[in-house]
Symmetry: D2
């Protein structure tokens, strides 16, 4: 039976995600700020510790991706390759080593949800919106000092986050919070649904063939809102660090298991 | 850390699915037919065998659900509880016992995707459409002989299935293909993405407090279409059995592991 | 050239709406309350006066419709016939006669927008959600005393309204605010976009073959929220009147022009 | 009462479209081909004649827009400004003068539908997809020879069009079919719905402050599909002319009435 996830078939054609490698080209807006370090610590599972430095640092990231498999078929049928995502990243330590870690994430396509689950990203669906650079006309911001971008997130018909970002000048690199290898948990509760897990792993991963494109820094504001099924107010900004508009090209094919619970 | 799936937090409030039990009330249209038994067999993973009787029998099922947790909060915020789904079910044998098995399934909400993953349903997102009974006016079919319903399925901007169902009279029960406990695989590929699985299980489950409501049988037609990412033509109808409109109320809290691969 | 609206073609097949008559079957939740009468008056164009009695009465209505043309093709392809809508109705006087009038309305399908424009309903798109009655299971409310329904409205990723309705008992009819013939304006600004209109009409209409089905009254609560592109706070409830769950079947084929501005 | 279209209020805040001027920045893929000239002629209303030259020429255009009003608020809340559209344009003559004319068009936001109606574009809603240029990574095509883009259109869960475009080199301008001032009909059927119109106009318009940005030409293929509510097969390509990827910045504030039926 072929197919990374499901459904598995003789050919794998119907699988919800194509085989690796996966290739990504995207435009991102990254807003880095400090929240209550205790709120970050409270989101780290057993085995994880806060980052040694700046343990309350958070990156709120909006991304507009095009993605594809090695067949590149998705580039020509863009409904199967384009998606937007919004995610919050913190830093942490596991087994004495520093990692980045995604604590919350929303995407707007199902294939992106499943690829993310494979990688331990806790993906939900949402409505992710962000201004794009414009090269002509007045309908969008320029990639230059003064260019002003808007970002919003919503789920279940409630707005969860909104912000603006204004370019002040070029930057070397888009912040530091999301710059380490990721350390994520992958959990699958036992079908007995008795509080035990059938799968309980910590995994790490990085992309390869990373291309950092144009990069600009700037000022921002960011508001987070409440919802009956979210906990964003707990990680609200206390102090702004910096914002970035930047491009990323990256490919992904595998990660590495750091830890796995001995299952009976 | 609380939360069945992810994200896990101190409170569990942000988890993508609420705690069990889950309660469901739905209206379904079930179209039973026979396809090539070899096509069904080809979709059964190692360890599974075809059903002893009528091994080419398939149920194509459209369902319009309302669902909720024990808090019933989702009933009052229906965007978090209502969803539609379309699924194909066959029968099979595992460890000598007969089961029903979902081979393909689409839903239109993310919480339903994740609850389904927990249960081993290979859920994708799609656009699922079905006529509802009307009690006044000419805008919909009556729940009576001659009442005619339409059903469609689409994903990635392509229509995948469409059919019609016409009531001929009352029925005792809605067919036989989806009537057994389910036997599903739960796979999680290893993060090494090397063709091995971190989780490889066969699970079974049934609902409880099942209430079968109104039930009607009738004639139907059904067309399946091709897509670059589906394999529905392989299970196209060769012979129709019968169609049903029916109601189901059911709750779910746990399943049982039938088999788990020894992991290193 | 055939086609009620556009595009007009030799056959009319591609027209955004099919020819009249249009048939509707729906389930509605109507929440009647009183707001500041001055807020209602402020929404009446020149030529209109407030209702003589209870001029601050408002009906906030959620509706889940199935609709079709005389071909009934849309019943069998439900993506072309089903839609939800939420609208606010007040009463008013025009040329000395009492009318109902829709002041704000959202739907979730484009064909419903255009049919509404024809009738002078100021239709926008939104996400309209409402609980449906359940006949089995715990996933939805029963059509009986104690049955509790939720209703919500959102647009542009912001929640605009939410409420609950609890049945207390059967009712004869679903309130009074939306019970009169409608009086609506139909405006088309001149392409010169200089503040003048190419079309400026007041029209009235009623459906025919009205079937009132099951009807229940009850208690409710309702909250309205702000948005940069809405003005709902101005018509917030000051005093509740009553809520209703009810069914309507109706057909529509024509209205009547009450007034038309003499155009040069 | 303020508000270009509806709802009209004391402030105009709730109007479905903001006041003019409207500003647009977009990326477009234009595929020009020849169809049966009789099919184009059949879509021209009374008073229009086919173009003198190349009367079967059609432009199939995909556009990814950011748009805003003079407040630029929509740039910072992009769900209110971004939209995609797909449209077919032909050329024609009216009152002896040559014009471009949109014969079919789909957008994915309601504010774009209404702005289009004002301008006489026969806008429906659909799912419009197109590859975007990528500047890093393998997830999208480069703006250079060999860059290959995909475009698709769907409505009512059916795919209506799909194509690919491959850049061969830079171009001076993006074809000729959509290059003239537009001539559109604006119709509003009488509420009596008796086959007469309350509004029957021919209008023309052009944008101002047009900025043509980067422009590339190339090869393409294009397939059109059938639907119960479309007539695209009638205008299928017989001969390809050329394809283009190009940028446009433009503002719009007014058009001009060319003809209006004397209304009683």
């Amino acid at each position: 039976m072929k197919g990374l996830f499901y459904p598995r078939t003789q050919t794998g054609k119907a699988s919800i995600v194509p085989p690796v490698p996966w290739h990504y080209s995207g435009e991102l807006i990254t807003l880095e700020y400090r929240t209550d370090p205790a709120a970050v610590r409270a989101l780290l599972p057993p085995g994880f510790e806060p980052a040694d430095e700046d343990p309350g640092a958070v990156a709120a990231i909006w991304a507009d991706w095009q993605s594809c498999s090695d067949s590149f078929a998705e580039v020509l049928d863009p409904v199967r390759g384009q998606y937007k995502e919004m995610f919050f990243v913190v830093r942490c330590k596991f087994q004495g080593k520093a990692y980045s870690r995604c604590i919350y994430i929303w995407v707007d396509k199902e294939f992106a949800m499943l690829r993310g689950q494979h990688q331990g990203y806790p993906k939900k669906l949402g409505s992710i919106q962000m201004s794009r650079p414009a090269y002509v006309g007045k309908g969008g911001p320029r990639l230059a000092a003064g260019g002003r971008f808007g970002v919003t997130l919503a789920a279940f018909d409630r707005r969860l986050a909104q912000g603006t970002f204004t370019i002040t000048g070029p930057a070397e690199r888009p912040g530091f919070v999301n710059g380490l290898p990721m350390a994520h948990n992958r959990w699958m509760p036992a079908i007995e649904t008795d509080g035990t897990d059938s799968l309980d792993e910590v995994v790490t991963m990085s992309g390869y063939d990373v291309e950092l494109g144009r990069c600009f820094k700037g000022d921002f504001d960011l508001e987070l809102f409440d919802s009956p099924v979210e906990e964003l107010l707990a990680i609200a900004p206390r102090e702004k660090i910096a914002g970035y508009w930047h491009e990323v090209g990256v490919s992904w094919k595998a990660g590495r298991t750091l830890w796995r619970k001995n299952l009976p």
